[in-house]
C-alpha cells in the first residue's frame, strides 16, 4: 500500500496509546483495605474468560480506531501490489512502454488498446502518487529515453503512440540500467508495460542474467510489470510473404503469396474476404480459414504492362487489432542478379561462373563475371548482388569496399586461396591447407539444415552433403558460426554475423583437386544460388522492410505514398506501416513477422527473469481503464467509526447487573418472620 501523505504514518506509534494508558492506569492504582476478599477472588476467577476477552476486545477496538484514523489521514492508495513500494518517494520513475504492433490489440467494446489502457492507468496512478524528480519514458519503437513533464503528458506524446515496430524489452531495460548507473539514482521505480510477446522479451537471451546481476547491485530499484497475460482474443493477421512482378507477353501480372494467421479461438473453419488494392483498383478474394489460418499462394493480379513498379496492399475486415489487418507491398521489375567472381585461377572461376549464371527461375536474369584479383577496381559494386572472392584476403581500400558492399545488404563468399592466406578480414583469417590425413576424403559430419545456405529444400529433403568428398581444405580462424563441419570439427562453411548483408567463408574449393563440390553439383549450385538471392534482395527497386528506427535512413527524400492518412512526423513515420518512394525506389514498411505471432512468454518465465530483484507483476485486462490505485481514506474512516461503535457496545455495563438489585433489604430482613 502506498500513501499520499506518508509523513502522517509517523504517528502510527500512537496506536499504542490505549495500551499505554491502560498500563499507566494499572500503575496508578490506589491501595484500599478490603473486607470482602472472597468475592474479589471469585470475580478474578470469573473474569479470566469472557470478561477478559471483552476487555481485550475493547482495547483492541481503541487501538484500531486510532490506527484507522492515522491511516485515513495518510491517504492510502489501494493495490496490494504497491506494498513493496514502501513509504519514501522515488527519485526517478522510468516507464518502459512496449509500442509493438501486438500492443494495439483492442477491447472492441471499450475501444481501448493494450497500449492506451496501460498508459491511461499508469498516468492516473502516477498523477495520484509521487513519481519523483524525474519521469522518464523509454519507448520500444525508438529505444530512446526522454524526460516527460507530467504523467498526463504521456497520453499525448507521439512517442507513446501506436507503432508497427517490434519491441526489445531487454534492450530497453539495459537503457534504464545505464541511466540509473550514470545518474547514480537512489530510489527508482521501473514500470514496464507489455503484452509479454515472446519475440519482444527474448527470455532465453543471455543478456537477462547480466542485467539481473547489474540491477541487483542497485539499491532501491523497484520493478513493476503491467502485464497483459490473458490469451489473445480472436484476431486475424495477414502478411504478404512474397510479391513478384512478371511479364507475360504484352501483359504483366503480380504474383503474391499471402498468409493469414489466426490467433485465439476462431471457432472452426470460416470464410474471410481478403481485399487486394493495386493501383487504386480493389479486388476481393475469399479464403477459408482453419484453426491456424489460411495461405493464399501464387495469387495473380493482372496489371498494366507499363506499370513497371508500384505499390499495393492487402486488407482484412476489421478485428481486435487494426494494425495487423493491412499489409503494404511494393513491386518492381526483377533486377539482373549479378555476381562478380574474383579469382586468379581461371578453372575455379569458371566453375563459379557456370553455377551462378544459370537462374533457378527462367524468368530471372543472371549475370556472372569472372575477374582476376588485380582488376578488382573495375567492379561495379552498385549493380552487384554477390561477390565470390577466391584469393588472399584483401586489405586496404579493397577491404573497405567489400565492407561497404556488405553493409549495403549484399552477400560475399570467401573461398581459400591456393597459396598466400592474406590479411585478416571480418575477424577471420585463413590457416594452413589440410589434407584428408590417412583417409581418402574428409566427410561432412554436421551441417545446419534448418536455415541458411545449407537448409533443407522446400520438400523437406536434406541437401546431399553426406556424399560430398573433400580432399583438401583450409583451416579458418574466425569468430563466425559454422554452418557445416568436417568430422575433425574443422568448419566447411562459416557465417560471420553482421547487421546487414551476409559474409560466408567456405574452406575448400569446388574443383576436383580439392572436393567434389563442382562434380556433384547440387550442393554447390544451391549454396551459391541462395547466397545470390540473399545478396540481390537490395538490388530491386522495390523493397519490403520491417518497421523500425533507420529503415528509411538509406535515402533522404522518401515521400509518403500510402496510407493516405499517414500523418506521422518524419522522425516517426519509419515506425509506422506505409509505402514510401524516392524516384525509382519503393519501400513498403510493415510490422515484423514476429508481431503476427501472438505467442506470449509464460508469466512464470517472465517472473523468473526478475528473481532476486524487487519486482511485482500487475495483471491487467485490455480496455480496463479503472484506476490502478484509488484512495482508501473513506474505508479507514468507516473502519474507525465501526471500531468506536464496537468499543462503545463492549463498554456498556451488563443489563442484568444494572437492573437486578443486589440486596433487597425488605425481604432479607426478618426473613423468618
Amino acid at each position: 500500500m502506498s500513501f499520499l501523505q506518508p509523513l502522517a504514518l509517523i504517528a502510527l506509534p500512537l496506536m499504542a496509546l490505549p495500551i499505554i494508558i491502560h498500563l499507566i492506569n494499572q500503575q496508578r492504582h490506589r491501595t484500599i483495605p478490603w473486607a470482602a476478599m472472597m468475592f474479589l477472588m471469585r470475580a478474578k476467577r470469573m473474569s479470566r474468560g469472557m470478561a477478559r476477552l471483552r476487555h481485550l476486545l475493547i482495547l483492541l477496538m481503541r487501538v484500531l480506531a486510532i490506527g484507522a484514523l492515522i491511516f485515513a489521514i495518510s491517504r492510502p492508495l489501494s493495490g496490494g501490489w504497491l506494498g513493496s513500494v514502501g513509504l519514501s518517494k522515488p527519485d526517478a520513475t522510468l516507464i518502459l512502454l512496449d509500442r509493438s504492433a501486438s500492443m494495439e490489440m483492442q477491447d472492441l467494446q471499450a475501444g481501448e488498446s493494450k497500449r492506451s489502457t496501460a498508459l491511461k492507468r499508469l498516468a492516473q496512478l502516477l498523477e495520484q502518487g509521487d513519481y519523483g524528480t524525474h519521469l522518464l519514458l523509454i519507448d520500444s519503437a525508438s529505444g530512446q529515453m526522454q524526460e516527460v513533464d507530467s504523467p498526463k503528458a504521456l497520453l499525448n506524446l507521439p512517442m507513446t503512440g501506436a507503432s508497427a515496430t517490434s519491441a526489445n524489452i531487454p534492450s530497453m531495460l539495459e537503457t534504464a540500467l545505464a541511466y540509473l548507473k550514470a545518474n547514480e539514482s537512489g530510489r527508482a521505480e521501473i514500470w514496464i508495460c507489455s503484452d509479454l510477446n515472446e519475440n519482444d522479451w527474448d527470455v532465453h537471451s543471455g543478456r537477462w542474467n547480466a542485467m539481473r546481476q547489474a540491477f541487483a547491485q542497485l539499491e532501491g530499484v523497484h520493478h513493476f510489470l503491467l502485464a497483459y497475460t490473458d490469451p489473445p482474443s480472436n484476431n486475424l493477421s495477414l502478411r504478404v510473404e512474397n510479391v513478384q512482378r512478371w511479364k507475360r507477353g504484352n501483359d504483366a501480372e503480380l504474383i503474391l503469396d499471402v498468409m493469414v494467421r489466426t490467433n485465439g479461438n476462431s471457432g472452426g473453419t470460416r470464410r474471410v474476404p481478403i481485399e487486394f488494392e493495386v493501383n487504386n483498383i480493389q479486388s476481393v478474394v475469399e479464403v477459408e480459414l482453419d484453426t491456424l489460418g489460411a495461405s493464399l499462394q501464387g495469387h495473380r493480379i493482372p496489371i498494366d504492362a507499363k506499370l513497371s513498379s508500384g505499390w499495393g496492399s492487402v486488407s482484412l475486415p476489421g478485428d481486435a487489432n487494426p494494425l495487423d489487418n493491412r499489409f503494404f507491398f511494393v513491386f518492381s521489375e526483377p533486377p539482373v542478379r549479378k555476381t562478380v567472381v574474383v579469382s586468379d585461377d581461371k578453372r575455379i572461376g569458371e566453375a563459379f561462373r557456370r553455377a551462378l549464371a544459370i537462374p533457378l527461375d527462367p524468368r530471372l536474369q543472371h549475370q556472372a563475371d569472372v575477374i582476376p584479383v588485380n582488376r578488382v577496381a573495375e567492379i561495379d559494386w552498385e549493380s552487384t548482388g554477390l561477390l565470390i572472392w577466391q584469393g588472399a584476403l584483401p586489405s586496404g581500400l579493397v577491404a573497405e569496399q567489400i565492407e561497404h558492399f556488405v553493409n549495403s545488404g549484399r552477400a560475399v563468399m570467401f573461398f581459400p586461396p591456393a597459396q598466400n592466406a592474406g590479411e585478416q578480414l571480418f575477424d577471420s583469417h585463413w590457416g594452413a591447407w589440410q589434407s584428408a590425413d590417412g583417409k581418402e576424403v574428409a566427410k561432412v559430419a554436421w551441417w545446419r539444415g534448418d536455415a541458411d545456405l545449407l537448409a533443407h529444400v522446400e520438400s523437406g529433403d536434406a541437401l546431399p552433403l553426406n556424399g560430398l568428398r573433400t580432399y583438401r581444405y583450409r583451416t579458418l580462424e574466425s569468430t563466425g558460426t559454422p554452418l557445416a563441419r568436417f568430422d575433425d570439427e574443422t568448419p566447411l562453411l562459416t557465417r560471420v554475423p553482421t547487421d546487414h548483408g551476409a559474409i560466408y567463408f567456405c574452406s575448400t574449393l569446388p574443383t576436383a583437386q580439392y572436393s567434389s563440390l563442382e562434380r556433384d553439383g547440387i550442393v554447390f549450385y544451391i549454396m551459391l544460388q541462395r547466397a545470390l538471392t540473399e545478396g540481390c534482395l537490395t538490388l530491386a527497386a522495390a523493397a519490403q522492410r520491417d518497421a523500425g528506427v533507420g529503415v528509411l535512413a538509406d535515402r533522404d527524400q522518401w515521400e509518403s505514398i500510402a496510407p493516405a492518412e499517414n500523418t506521422a512526423s518524419l522522425s516517426q513515420r519509419e515506425l509506422h506501416a506505409g509505402v514510401y518512394r524516392e524516384g525509382e525506389h519503393w519501400v513498403a514498411v510493415n510490422r515484423s513477422q514476429a508481431e503476427d505471432n501472438a505467442k506470449t512468454s509464460p508469466v512464470e518465465t517472465v517472473d523468473a527473469l526478475f528473481d532476486g530483484l524487487s519486482y511485482r507483476r500487475i495483471d491487467v485486462d485490455v480496455g480496463d481503464t479503472s484506476a490502478l490505485a484509488s484512495e482508501l481514506w473513506r474505508i479507514f474512516l468507516i473502519a474507525m467509526a465501526l471500531a468506536l461503535i464496537l468499543e462503545a457496545i463492549l463498554s456498556l455495563p451488563s443489563r442484568k447487573t444494572e437492573d437486578t438489585p443486589l440486596i433487597d433489604l425488605a425481604t432479607a430482613e426478618g426473613i423468618t418472620e
Binding site: 491501595t31 484500599i32 483495605p33 473486607a35 470482602a36 476487555h55 443486589l662 440486596i663 430482613e669 426473613i671
Partner: protein, 310 residues
C-alpha cells in the same frame, strides 16, 4: 437505671428502646422467674391446662371447683415465666474493621463507623436492655486473633464487665465465628438467645452448619449481618490494590474489568445466604452500617414481640 459511661452507648437510643422488651421467640429455661415463657409449668397468672390428679401432686393445686362440679380431682396448671440467657457473639475478625467509607476505623476521626463499632453499639444496647429486664447476658468475641468468652450472668456488675469488654475489643486476624458458634452451641447447657453480629464473610454452607447446630440445641438464634454499601456496589473508577483486612495476599484488580463478576459473586452469595436463613429459621437482619442502629434495634425488638400481645 444503671449509670452508663460507655461512649458507644447512646443515651437517647437507650431511653427510646427501654420502653420495648426483648422477647425470646422460643420458650426459655431460666433459673429465676422472668418475663419469658418456659417449657416448665409454673405459677404465673397465665392458665395453661388441666390434668388429672396423680398421687404425690401438691393438694394445694387441686381445683376444688372442678371437683365440686365433676366429683373428680383435677390439677390446675399455669405457665411458668422465667428469665433469658442472651449470648452476644461478636465477630472480631479483621474484616469487621471495615468502615462505611472504605477506610479502617480510627484512621480518620470524621469517618463513619466500622462494622465493629456498629456491632459494639448493637451488642451494648441489647445487653443493656436484657439486663434491665433481668436477663442474663454473656459475650463471645469470635476472632482467631481476639477471642473472649464471658458466660451469661444476671448481675449488674456482670453487665459492666460485658460493656467494658465490648469497649475494648479489637478487630484483627481471620474470623473464628464458625468455631465459636459451634462451641457456644455445645457449652451453653440450657436454651438461650444467641445474637450473632458479623459480616458473615464465610461460606454459606459453613454458616448453615453453625445455625443448624444452634437450632438443634434449642437455641433462639438472631443474626445481624453487617454489610457496607461499597462492598455491595463495588463502584471504583480506577484499578485498586485491595489489601486483605484479615491478613491474606493483596489483590490488584481493575474494577471496571471485574466489577460485573464481583457483583455477580456477591449476588450468588446473598441468594445462598437467604436460602440458609429460610432453612434454619433464624431471626436474620441484613444491615448496612450507615443505617441508624436505634432504628435497626427497634425493628428487631418489635419483630420479636409475641403475637398474643399484639
Amino acid at each position: 437505671m444503671l449509670q452508663l459511661k460507655r461512649d458507644y452507648l447512646n443515651q437517647k437510643v437507650l431511653e427510646r428502646l427501654s420502653t420495648l422488651q426483648l422477647h425470646a421467640r422460643l420458650p426459655m429455661v431460666g433459673s429465676v422467674s422472668g418475663k419469658h415463657r418456659s417449657p416448665i409449668r409454673g405459677s404465673s397468672l397465665e392458665f395453661a391446662e388441666y390434668r388429672k390428679y396423680v398421687p404425690g401432686d401438691d393438694t394445694r393445686r387441686l381445683d376444688w371447683r372442678a371437683y365440686a362440679r365433676n366429683d373428680r380431682y383435677y390439677i390446675k396448671e399455669f405457665e411458668a415465666d422465667t428469665n433469658l440467657r442472651m449470648c452476644l457473639v461478636v465477630d472480631t475478625s479483621g474484616s469487621m474493621d471495615f468502615t462505611d467509607n472504605g477506610n479502617p476505623a480510627g484512621t480518620d476521626a470524621e469517618s463513619g463507623l466500622s462494622k465493629l463499632d456498629y456491632a459494639r453499639r448493637v451488642a451494648g444496647t441489647l445487653a443493656y436492655i436484657a439486663a434491665l429486664q433481668g436477663d442474663a447476658v454473656g459475650l463471645y468475641c469470635a476472632g482467631q486473633a481476639f477471642q473472649k468468652e464471658i458466660p451469661p450472668k444476671r448481675s449488674a456488675t456482670h453487665l459492666s464487665v460485658v460493656l467494658d469488654e465490648l469497649g475494648t475489643m479489637e478487630a484483627s486476624g481471620e474470623t473464628g465465628l464458625a468455631d465459636v458458634l459451634h462451641e457456644t452451641a455445645e457449652r451453653i447447657p440450657q436454651r438461650a438467645l444467641i445474637v450473632v453480629i458479623s459480616d458473615l464473610f464465610i461460606e454459606p454452607e459453613t454458616v448453615r452448619n453453625c445455625f443448624e447446630h444452634l437450632r438443634f440445641r434449642k437455641h433462639d438464634v438472631a443474626v445481624f449481618h453487617l454489610m457496607e454499601q461499597n462492598e455491595l456496589d463495588f463502584e471504583f473508577d480506577r484499578p485498586m490494590r485491595f489489601v486483605d483486612m484479615e491478613g491474606g495476599e493483596p489483590i490488584l484488580a481493575d474494577p471496571t474489568v471485574i466489577g460485573a463478576q464481583y457483583r455477580r459473586a456477591m449476588e450468588i452469595y446473598l441468594e445462598s445466604m437467604d436460602e440458609v436463613i429460610r432453612d434454619t429459621e433464624v431471626d436474620y437482619h441484613r444491615i448496612q452500617i450507615h443505617e441508624n442502629y436505634g432504628d435497626v434495634l427497634a425493628r428487631f425488638l418489635l419483630g420479636r414481640t409475641p403475637k398474643r400481645h399484639k
